[in-house]
Amino acid sequence: MSSADSQTGISNPGTSAGGLELARHNFMQIWQVLAALALIYGFFFLMSPPFRSIDTLLSIFGQASILAILACGTTIVLISGGLDLSVGSIFAVVGVSVGIFMAEWGLPPVAAVGLGLVIGAALGALNGTIQVLTKVPAFIVTLGGLTAYKGLAEILASGRDLSRFPDGFKFLGSGNTVPMLIMFAAAILTGLFLTKTRLGSRAFAIGGNEEVARLSGVPVAKSRIYYYMLGGLLAGLAAIVEVAKLNFAMPARGQSYELYAIAAVVIGGTSLFGGRGGVGKTLLGMFIMQTIIVGLSYLGVGTSYQRIAIGAIIIVAVYWDVWRRTAR
């Protein structure tokens, strides 16, 4: 995996011994998740012959990609010790907006996409700003955002037929490949942001110990707003890819995506309590979740049972996170 896997995955120009030590350390952090992924994949591989095809594997990646783009943002926010429950609704607002821009206003795809990303970033930043200013817990502020933005998406979409978009736009969602490439691009950029930049690396410090970060002169409030903004931006990007893939936009899309994203992030090994994690882990977590969902469908297990399975896995993953923290 790339160096984006953990906060210690910084470029290490020191001794080669240090580099090896670091690589070992990184590997130790993710081998359990990799092993879990291999086990789960192996299980379905054995149980279901049709699951074994390459197409199935590609469809796992393809289906994971839209949620994974959104989950990149969730990774940043969770590492910084924040929480954004509203990204699923931001997703809906951006999807509907982009639809309006093209289907009603006739804007070219580039402009629609650009504006959509700006809207996503702005809604995320609004969450962050409200939270920083009011000091109301992130859980409550973004729960409010979840409902409010959802309402906004419904108002924007009401009475409109948002479909049949230009080919240039639909390209963004074509097949499994393009969404997958966008996912990897988003993940790599997020990883570089978290590990190589000043603002990104401070997310770990703020999530680890906000007070130490503040006393060290880190502008905690301002940084947090940026993290929420990036979360909104990535939710917007995910929405754009989905609208392109479906060739229609509606406000019901994105429902519960924030929960699936949080689940994937935590399953991958990023701490729900902040300070630790990485975007490579999030991709692994997302693949685990999608493998389970796709695998269970191949075994004839219905959607409702799949949800129960995912719920159970989230609890196990968080328990594991808590256990690791107390065992240290």
Partner: protein, 264 residues
């Protein structure tokens, strides 16, 4: 006995605080406390729990907003309302239990809030960090201070209390241009580690720093400090030259068994 201004009339004290108070609602945590820190000295702040020691240094470093008070730096009145103001003035603080973030590496801890970015468009536009430079500066610093930590990319929590304290103290040398303020630098340390930390504190002088140190350890006051100020219930009750007091006198002043005023 004259005031400290008299024997150093030529040079103003590095740091001078006047009438520092902190009220929490009706509770007076700190009542009109003054303080003078001379160039190159180690000033101990002692007092029982709740005497206002931590409140005093937090007010001095902008970690809390003071109710009243004036701070002069090299004789010039200086506004210190946030931790960043204090850092800009050249004051570096090591807070008890709030020195390092466990979850990030030693490098990132030392440079937290003052990261070095690359000297190119990546650095200017995207804040891309210059790890090479930061690592080199830390190795240089640790060499200078004789701190033996090779694994500077490991998370801080992997290190012992003594090593962590050494890292925290090293930040004062790296960034503190004038003053280091230390809140119980040996609170969580064993005997051997305490001695190492205190030797490091003493060496801060050689790096041009004047030191204010909160401590509960009278032996550390007597062995490592130049002057000592005693707080009780939010009030300054005595300032003495360490050469002129003994442990019993200090304990008497701290508990209130000895009621004495006057300045050393």
């Amino acid at each position: 006995m004259t005031g400290p201004g008299a024997d150093r009339a030529a040079k103003p004290p590095v740091l001078e605080a006047r009438g520092i108070s902190k009220h929490y609602g009706g509770i007076v945590a700190l009542d009109e406390v003054g303080l003078t820190l001379n160039e190159g000295e180690v000033l101990a702040v002692v007092g029982d729990n709740g005497a206002g020691k931590s409140t005093l240094i937090k007010a001095l470093t902008g970690a809390i907003s003071k109710t009243t008070g004036v701070i002069r730096f090299d004789g010039t009145e200086t506004k210190i309302d946030t931790p960043s103001d204090a850092k800009a003035a050249g004051i570096e603080t090591v807070y008890q239990d709030l020195a390092l973030v466990n979850e990030i590496s030693i490098t990132k801890n030392v440079f937290l809030g003052r990261e070095i970015v690359r000297d190119d468009w990546l650095g200017r536009w995207f804040g891309v960090l210059d790890f090479k430079k930061m690592d080199a500066e830390i190795r240089d610093l640790f060499g200078k201070l004789d701190i033996r930590i090779a694994d500077i990319y490991r998370d801080a929590e992997a290190f012992s209390g003594g090593q962590r304290q050494a890292v925290a103290l090293s930040k004062t040398v790296m960034f503190g241009k004038r003053v280091a303020i230390l809140d119980e630098p040996t609170a969580a340390l064993g005997v051997r580690e305490s001695k190492m930390a205190m030797d490091l504190v003493r060496s801060l002088k050689d790096h041009g720093l004047s030191v204010i140190m909160i401590t509960h350890n009278m032996q550390h006051v007597l062995n490592y400090c130049d002057r000592v100020m005693v707080l009780r219930l939010g009030r300054l009750v005595a300032v003495r030259k360490v050469a002129e007091v003994d442990g019993d006198t200090l304990v008497g002043l701290i508990t209130g068994a000895k009621e004495t005023e006057g300045q050393a």
